[in-house]
Amino acid sequence: MIDVLYFAWVRERVGLPREQVETSAATVADLVEELKARQERYAAAFADVSALRVAVDQELCAFDTPLAGVREVAFFPPMTGG
């Protein structure tokens, strides 16, 4: 079980801020494919992965990051702090 978090318009498109996901996906990219296959709202949120960023266990990562041992994955658009 992995905690999956969504922020900003990713959260709005998916329709919830976080959920627990039972997955055997090997990488973040695999997890994205699993989610997209679930329902249209996931497909809409993940339509253009190049517009997204991902944090794995609260560290920014690439989409090919392995999920073994990971507790938390977060998806969001490019950050706009400051």
């Binding site: 900003a8 944090a55 609260q58 920014l60 658009p77 950050m79 702090g81 400051g82």
Partner: protein, 147 residues
């Protein structure tokens, strides 16, 4: 070396005064303050800032630690708000202290460049017409390449 992520307003004057006094062996103190700017049409009602609670503090602390090390800072402070802000409200501030001005300026710019693109905040603007997420600018991402 302080990071504060908070919903409440902060007292810029008191923060800057306290920071400068605490670093008064340093010679040079630089402060940047970010303020909610209205839209060109002046129709901004509010900005809502969302963040990633589990990650924000540690991401900011990591950015700060890199700046402190790179410029041998004598002091640094980051305050960043989230929640609902109105035009004219202060969003955030950074302060840096160093023996010489070039280091204080550069490190403050470094903090700001990284905060813009690497700290997990997202801004949504609500105008009288509707609302939209503030988009990251290519220039902000490009600014990181100089460091």
């Amino acid at each position: 070396m302080t990071v504060r992520v908070q919903q409440d307003r902060f007292d810029l004057g008191a923060e800057v005064q306290g920071f400068a006094q605490g670093c008064n062996t340093s010679g040079a103190v630089v402060n940047f303050t970010g303020i909610v700017r209205n839209t060109p049409d002046g129709d901004l009602d509010r900005m809502e800032i969302e963040h990633y609670p589990g990650m924000t503090q540690s991401a900011l602390a990591e950015i700060e630690a890199k700046a402190v090390k790179r410029w041998s800072l004598k002091g640094s402070l980051i305050i960043h708000r989230y929640g609902i802000l109105r035009p004219g409200d202060m969003i955030m501030m950074v302060a840096t202290a160093a023996p010489h001005r070039v280091d204080a300026f550069e490190s403050a710019q470094y903090l700001m460049d990284y905060l813009k693109s690497r700290a997990p905040f997202w801004k949504k603007e609500f105008t009288t017409d509707g609302h939209q997420w503030v988009e990251a600018k290519d220039a902000d991402e490009a600014a990181l390449t100089r460091w």
